[in-house]
Symmetry: C2
Subunit: 510 residues, 2 copies
């Protein structure tokens, strides 16, 4: 390894270690920290984030990257070192583009907006936050300008988490999804709903956690390099390659929350645990190819595996052993149908596997319209309601259940403060990618469904590690989809999957 | 506040926040971290420690302190800002004295010695590590040179943790302790031992932890600003003023470990929780006046309160409710006598309250002899054994139970790598300080023993907070002892305490 490359890796390792520290501060805050620690913890996290940022945007880092750019020409695209320089240069260029003053302004606006949103949501009155959101839109357009060149202003906002996937592709894919899903949901609404009344029992906390831990261990989540705790909002966090933690939430009135949140987060975590060791300590090791690609893994394991018929053919007897009274008289098929009940509603958080896409698509389409200037903030509430009526056949009773429902647009996320764009599309993209990957895996191994129905997940976990996980952030999501499946991202595998699955559950001929 | 002072406080706050982060990394490593996280955690901790050290030894810090030195003349000794400059200058001067090369050399020697010690202890052969220890002694003498001026070479090694207490004082105090304790232990050995056979029952883990948590909460440990976990080696850790965590260890075969470790660590933690808010974020807020002063608080709560007759008069019924079968037929007085059984032995870790002092004194006296040149490393093993025989009437069966017993001299501690001096004396000093503080409190409040016997600890906790805790590291230990008790540290209160307590238990007229 050249001296320059060694120095780059050394600097990146320190930055990566600071990120690990930052993630521990956050994990601890959400799991174990006593209330008295909050004030200091805010300072500590801000300090570590600042040190990380300072180290990454150090001009010496830029000079080092410039002196190594020749590797991108001399070596193969696939070469680890060439990829390291390529991806790190892209991140460095973006990180050094924004004037500090712009960020401070954005953060201040973000917290003011958050406060206004909290009031507006409590009162169900969108007008209380409307003017703030108009400024947010202006700031988003301004932010996108720093990230030129792009084809669509949205691309200037999604460069970090969806680099390589353009707004026009998203428009097209989501349009196809709407055309495929909306009629299916309408047909489902006309059929008798599966009985899920038995789910409303009491499911003791410790038994739920033990069952969830057993499931994620069997799927391939490595507890020697991770752990499972409970938090208000479940998440997965990569501290280091050997320490990727997950959390879940227990609701004693609903069996599904703890288990499916745990599987979801384990999907994210298996991605992070599977990144190749030689990428560790570099930006190529964290957060995967894209937000959509990361969601594809949480959703693949949660839905395509964890909510599949085969999975419960195998696992239901263990579940009944854990909860014999609650599940007396219930069989595997009844249970499978109950946890896959489709029920269009106004609230994203309560959405089932199928309608969840429409919640995401509505938000993304509205974002695109706003950014293109085709929709004004003053018309956003009505546009929201109209889309819910058109796609889901429901209408929010108030703005609190509608346009004010999610914090995302209102400065609630720390990563993307008060910026419209990119937070939602990844979830629906993830469903598409997950189904396309699963279909490719199944065509390579015809016995895959039998594996699942026998409780064997090693082959699938190995295939995903080989095709996706080990590459970390080395490739862009579209590159990875093409390498792993042999074709561009398409809606066909996903639509085929939901038609087959829900067609069978609801007895619909498709 | 002047601009300079504001800048000093700002810099110190960042350094203090980095210390909090370092402590979280360590706490997590010992409580929750999966095994796979170890390698990265080593790097993360080293990085954060380096950043903290760099910030503290920044020459700009020296200039800032120089520009504020006038406060020490202009203001009262008690003034917070004057004290901040005084103490920080002392720490800064020491931190900037050592050439980096010396530290690296020390660390390398330290890890080689540690490895040699592990082999030597396994084989019970002191000669395998003797030459390493000779180098350690040379390095210790060299290290002390950096810290001149001093009266005794030991003072050059204890500047950080026992500043203000000199080797000659320690010699004198420990001599008095030996004269007082050794005859008492001999008399005890001739009396019938209290029955403690019932302690060898099975004490379930969860019940032990719940009982220990209730006790430390009642003593005054604030769970809103802390938490209790289990680790292999119990400790207390101040992250921030609002987050001071403790750990304990559970042995299902011995009721005492979990409970008394928890009380011990809660004593340390109450000290840290009690430091005044205006000292937070500065070096005055951490680690108390000295190692001995800190140990005085763990030992006061553990022994003078937690192992007292009054405490168990009140608490025993709750203990019997928690463990009805194990304590069937046992009364409070029998229990009190059992947990205070005195039994001279060769192993420090198993020592009772009274003989523990002698273990510490033996080690400290040997250290002093070595540093003075009165004892050679080649004669250390025999000197150790002779002292055990003289003070405790026992002789180690092998070097593993003797001179190789503790890791301290062999580079096992990170804080004080391979340095002879100061690690042991604090424990015995702590016993003296604790007894003198308790006696002063009792003379101010004659009903203190009745408080304890009624389960009321607020007055004592408040008095200690007022006299000791709130001052943090502002005063030196001897200053604080004099302020709180009205006289210099003396062995009289401690010797009176142990004669009264053990005289009664063993029916000895004193």
């Amino acid at each position: 390894m050249s001296e320059k490359l060694r120095e780059l890796r050394h600097r990146l390792q320190e930055i990566d270690d600071l990120r690990a520290v930052y993630n521990l501060l956050n994990w601890d805050q959400q799991t174990h920290m006593p209330v008295g620690g909050a004030e200091a913890r805010g300072r500590e996290s801000a300090l570590v984030a600042r040190l990380e940022h300072e180290k990454f945007t150090d001009p010496e880092m830029g000079r080092l990257l410039d002196s190594l750019v020749h590797l991108e020409q001399e070596r193969d695209y696939d070469d680890d070192d060439a990829s390291l320089v390529r991806v790190t240069r892209r991140l460095y260029e973006h990180a050094t583009r924004f004037p500090t003053a712009f960020w401070s302004h954005l953060f201040e606006h973000s917290s003011r907006t958050y406060e206004a949103w909290a009031r507006a949501r409590a009162e169900g009155d969108f007008s209380l936050v409307r003017e703030h959101l108009e400024v947010t839109l202006e700031l988003s357009l301004e932010l996108a300008e720093f990230n030129r060149p792009w084809e669509h202003v949205m691309d200037g906002l999604t460069w970090d988490r969806e680099y390589g996937t353009t707004a026009s592709q998203v428009r097209r894919l989501f349009g196809e999804l709407v055309d495929g899903i909306v009629p299916l949901v309408k047909e489902i609404a006309e059929r008798p709903a599966p009985d899920d009344s038995f789910l409303r029992a009491t499911w003791p906390r410790q038994e739920q956690l033990a069952f969830a831990a057993d499931v994620v261990r069997d799927l391939g989540y490595d507890f020697d390099r991770g752990r499972l705790d409970t938090t208000r909002h479940p998440f997965a966090s990569r501290l280091s390659r050997g320490d990727v933690r997950i959390t879940t939430r227990v609701n004693e009135g609903d069996l599904r929350e703890c288990l499916f949140s745990a599987i979801h987060e384990a999907g994210h975590a298996m991605y992070e645990q599977g990144v190749a060791e030689n990428l560790a300590g570099t930006p190529l090791s964290r957060r995967g190819a894209s937000h959509g690609m990361h969601e594809s893994q949480s959703r693949l394991w949660e839905n395509l595996v964890g909510r599949s018929k085969g999975f419960w053919e195998h696992r239901f007897s263990a579940l009944r052993d854990a909860f014999p009274e609650q599940l007396a008289g219930v069989d595997a098929h009844t249970f499978y149908r109950a946890i896959n009940r489709v029920e269009p509603g106004t609230i994203r958080l309560f959405a089932d596997e199928l309608t969840y896409n429409l919640h995401m698509i509505i938000r993304t389409e509205l974002e695109l319209d706003l950014l293109e200037g085709a929709l004004a903030i003053r018309d956003l509430e009505e546009a929201w309601n109209a889309k819910y009526e058109a796609y889901l056949g429901v209408r929010p009773a108030s703005a609190s259940e509608g346009v004010l429902q999610d914090v995302h647009w209102y400065g609630g996320t720390i990563v993307l403060p008060a910026i419209i764009g990119g937070a939602f599309q990844g979830y629906a993209l993830g469903n598409l990618i997950g189904a396309q990957l699963y279909a490719a895996a199944a065509s390579e191994r015809p016995a895959l469904d039998e594996d699942i129905a026998a409780g064997r997940f090693e082959w699938l976990h190995g295939w995903l590690t080989e095709k996706v996980y080990r590459h970390g952030r080395k490739y862009l999501a579209p590159e990875l989809v093409e390498r792993a499946t042999g074709s561009e991202l398409s809606t066909a595998p996903y639509l085929a999957y939901v038609r087959r699955k829900f067609g069978e559950i609801y007895d619909i001929r498709v």
